[in-house]
Subunit: 401 residues, 2 copies
């Protein structure tokens, strides 16, 4: 019997409400020896008060030392083992531009590139063309027709675009055409299994037509395709947990990840105030609310310590409004750490705060990395966050007699 | 290589003695913000002295957030992964009334119920008839004869009884006949696999004869059968650990669980003093002693904080007598938490104290939930308790060269 079997068989509905606030890339590091982390430097009276009165801990996004991307980071928080449910690159790219990816669709990431007269790649990123050029070229590609499948295209940024093949019998066992180097020609799309042969042929035909359409462009006179990916089969939040779940996310990728697990996505929220307002407006219609706050990650990626501190304080200021709704369980955590000192996602365990009437008090008196080390949840794999949330909400029955 | 393979291949006999004291439902919660847990409120000088001088930690009974019943809670403490070794409801019910369940037996839980003239259930619990009535009705059912199988029946409490079918070729893939609602007839016992067909037919014939015998009774004029279960195949304590194990338990269910893993069960112990006396009397004949103390669970279920505190103090007072026997390893823990504030089993990690000459000292200075958070054993899944016990007793060889 596995975690998901337990969840499926033990969940019950007692009308309680759970709020999961994900502050992306929340965990940090000191920038100088003996200095504070971003969380320690921030003034967070509301989070600190919750931490002192409730239970804290640290979540390990995947396994010790493993740095997750946004996909595995969030899937783990949603209770899906990120080593079992793999989100391909093409799929994540499509979700990131708000494309709906159906169960049979194959999502692909496209890169415009430059080839010379012999067809050898001279620039894998086509000189990082402006996003507007990308949009114009993608528009051109919309003339391509393939037998029996629909092609959905959307520009992403600079030389990147997202693509979906939609139709019967498509599979994603197709290799990248990007040779990962210059001075060589793009690879042909190769099927890794018999079932993916047709998809590989369709991709080859797409590339053939695209090459003709792009021939006279400069510098983006060719493209490569990468990360062919279908949606992995995933049980939904409703099936696993019996939860009606609402996602409140400003950025498309997080809305897309929430959709993958069957959450409803609130439209039209463009900042934290609107997210909290939507939370309040939808309070009676859902059991579970996922609120995503992006800026602790982006400031971390940029290495901007004071800005990340300010963003943490902005989140802290929104906490009382959430608490005022009286959720039975309120969790504040991140999907991974993004220390300014590292300027990138990292593997460092992520502070977790769980507030509930039946949270067992511990020694964590503030919401920070070091205080969470004294927390009663200990260090745990992020995939267990949902069972802890449901338990503290009284939504799990006893296992076994 | 799995935990059990390690245990099988590494155990050795050095004549050392291990005592495992299980205080059922030991872990707790404060009943008011900032207040103490039951363990923190109790005066436990003996347990505190052991905690200060030895090593502590917290055990997670199953997985984070998962609340175990008594079956999985104890199996985990005995070193059996509770997600792998599943104890069906019928089996637990039979163990709970001291029925011996053999390897081929099918154990079933029976409920007396009330049906109307159309045979539709009007009360699934037959008005919670007194236990004496249950005993009289069970006696009546003893007239039932089935072809080629022995029927063993025992009243449990109120409307509940336990039943065993004993014979060749019985299997437990049979669905409940309790429809889990009123206004509908009991279900027929349905086989979920071909191997269980015969058992389903025997159950149907049992129900047919029972209906005739109960026809003129009121309100218990019918019955339902639930939780068809055989013993899961389990390696014994002797095989896994090389231990001669003795169980000292007042309540039948815990004696039954101990029997499942091959422990000898001490007869005739009806209180803690007698359990400790039996421990002393049998000291030279066994290597491992499981002493079960029930009352920290029952007071927790009743929500009686001062009573649970008193029971903890009662257990503490018995510790010096156990210590006087000089066990090489003495463990005090629980199978799960039963906080008075929750009035039920819970998922909260359970304090563990392990006393041994080679316990590495840690920062836990008292035996309580919060002090155990500073313990050297950290938080660990309960299934690892036995390997820790054997290791500290010098009973495990090195793994690998």
């Amino acid at each position: 019997m596995k975690l998901h079997d337990l969840m499926r068989s033990l969940h019950t509905d007692n009308g309680s409400k759970i709020v999961l606030v994900v502050s992306d890339g929340l965990g940090g590091l000191p920038v100088e020896p003996g200095g504070p982390t971003e969380l320690e430097a921030a003034s967070t009276p509301n989070l600190d008060a919750l931490a002192a009165a409730n239970v804290c801990g640290l979540s390990i996004p995947v396994l010790p030392g493993i740095t997750p991307g946004s996909g595995p980071g969030h899937l783990a928080l949603f209770g899906y083992d990120p080593l079992e449910f793999l989100i391909g690159r093409g799929l994540l790219e499509a979700l990131g531009v708000d494309l709906e990816v159906g169960p049979g669709d194959v999502a692909i990431r496209g890169n415009f590139c430059t080839v010379n007269e012999e067809g050898l790649i001279t620039d894998r990123r086509a000189g990082r063309i402006p996003t507007e050029t990308c949009a114009r070229l993608v528009d051109k590609l919309r003339q391509i027709r393939l037998d029996g499948v629909e092609i959905i295209l959307r520009p992403v940024r600079e030389y990147r675009f997202a693509m979906i093949l939609r139709g019967e019998g498509l599979e994603d066992g197709v290799g990248d055409t990007d040779p990962q180097g210059t001075g060589v020609a793009p690879l042909a799309p190769r099927a890794r299994d018999a079932a993916s042969e047709r998809t590989a042929q369709l991709a080859a035909e797409f590339i053939r037509q695209a090459a003709e359409l792009l021939r006279d462009e400069s510098p983006a006179n060719m493209l490569t395709l990468r990360g062919f990916a279908k949606r992995p089969p995933m049980p939904s939040f409703a099936e696993l947990y019996g939860l009606r779940a609402l996602a409140l996310a400003v950025y498309p990728m997080y809305r897309g990840l929430a959709r993958l697990v069957g959450m409803t996505v609130a439209g039209d929220v463009s900042n934290l105030a609107e997210q909290v307002a939507a939370l309040r407006a939808n309070w009676s219609s859902y059991d579970f609310f996922f609120l995503h706050f992006k800026y602790t990650d982006s400031t971390g990626e940029d290495g901007k310590f004071p800005e990340k501190v300010k963003r943490i304080e902005e989140l802290d200021a929104a906490i009382p409004e959430i608490v005022a709704l009286k959720p039975d369980v309120l969790i504040v955590t991140g999907d991974h750490s993004t220390p300014c000192a590292w300027r990138s996602h990292s593997w460092h365990p992520v502070p977790v705060l769980l507030a509930s009437r039946v949270a067992r008090p511990d020694r964590a008196q503030r919401f920070s990395e070091s205080e969470c080390l004294a927390g009663g949840l200990g260090q745990f794999e992020a995939k267990y966050l949902m069972s802890l949330a449901l338990a503290h909400a009284g939504r799990l029955q006893k296992f076994g007699a």
